[in-house]
Amino acid sequence: MKLTINEVAQCLRLPVSTVERWIRQGRIPIQKTGNRYLFNESTLEKWAAMYKLPFSLPEKVNATPQQIKMENLLPSMKRGGLLYDIKGDGVETVLKNAVENIHYLSSSIKEILYSSLLEREHLTSTGIGKGVAIPHPHDPLKDMIKNSLISTCFLEKPIDFKAVDGKPVFVMFILLSPSTKIHLHLLSRLSFCIRENAFVEFLKTTPDSTAFFSNIVDFENRLVKGEGY
């Protein structure tokens, strides 16, 4: 493969004008005849190593790691499912019951998840106010799950979650994600929904899954339009 002068500059992570100047000044083993540049790739690599300069062939345009399109709320919520009438009268029991009911996860993960959720609750409450809590592990469950999921858990009766505004929590969104980045992405979308009082009122009616998901689709469409962002 023959490199162009622009590609050489890319390899060295330098502006082309610098490479051209270096050629003129004779600092780099490239010869210029008229408008042609003569050089040998392996010599250049050796030269770069000698001067401890970075030299790596530019990645193919296709090979650049395409930014993984991050999932939105809907698929994660569908995966996590809606859980109704979660029993319990304290944070621990509620979480325990909720985790038990997430069908998507295997039992071994459930145990780890439960303990890490508790750990996070001990740090500070995930009750974000308005009767909503978003329990999540402190560190993302990197290898244990492939896809993010959000389980929407409606509690049998509101419980004290030590939430920021002191209101008893009636609904929890258990948020699990394979990476912090996805976690933040989902969290910001979720909080966008919850910020709206109408949505919280709607949640208080304990909607069925069809009504709930169509509501989420509405929100996501608004997000796409860039409203509020």
């Binding site: 082309v16 003129r24 008229g34 408008n35």
Partner: protein
Amino acid sequence: MENQMENRLLHIFRNNPFGRETLLQSLYFCNKVGASPVIYIPKTTKFLMYFDNDVVQVDLDKSYLISPETAIQRATELVEQGGISARFLDPKHFTASTLPDIHTNFDYMCCPRSISDMSSKIGLGYIGPRVRRIVRSARFPVLITSPVYKEWKSISVFFGGSANAIKALRLGFHIARASGIQLDVFTQTEKFSKKDYQQMIKDRNLEEEMDLYVKQWHFFENRVFEENLYDVPHDALVILGAFGHGVIRNFVFGSKMEKIQSTISNNLLIAGPNYTTIR
């Protein structure tokens, strides 16, 4: 990428009526192609231009130094009439106390046909030795103005098929893009046929630009080149490539170019052998 960096034209101001014509011509060119002039008002009769692999001492004739007190004012007036903003170049570095360095980081330079000899010598077919050196060493094309201010309405490019002619053609595309004026390309068919020339364009992937920027491609079938030159519009900017060849003939630009410049009094934009296509 293009036009992000503004294009700059170096003009050396001669403070007399002849210099006025040259400056007007420069300003007209700048207006057409969207470049901004950088004007140098010399304070000494000589200066140095350091190019990539050459240093050229330009010895100006005495008329450049006439009444320096009015020079800036006159130049500013002309520039203001032209409706563009210009910068005045103040040399920062000096090789010797009377020998300033003018940097060569420009996109165009404007020269009359001669800058070092008395202007009485200037005539068709004569390009001064300093101007030739500049053309030969410069990375930028040189605008050689007609002796009197002459507006141009169209652009003609001479294309003879050599590597340098390709450069001139590319320069033509650039000017066409910048000015929005389509090109007339002229080719004297000598060794090759029309088809060969078209193939040359194809080989270099220039077809698309050819379609985009070229109004018409004229082929001169007539043997006598000078006679054919009558077909070049009188109010055209003529773009051509020049290459100094050989050891002895360093100052000769190639026969075609010499013929053109001794027959045509239009404004010439010359791409020298070291001209690098504007990125």
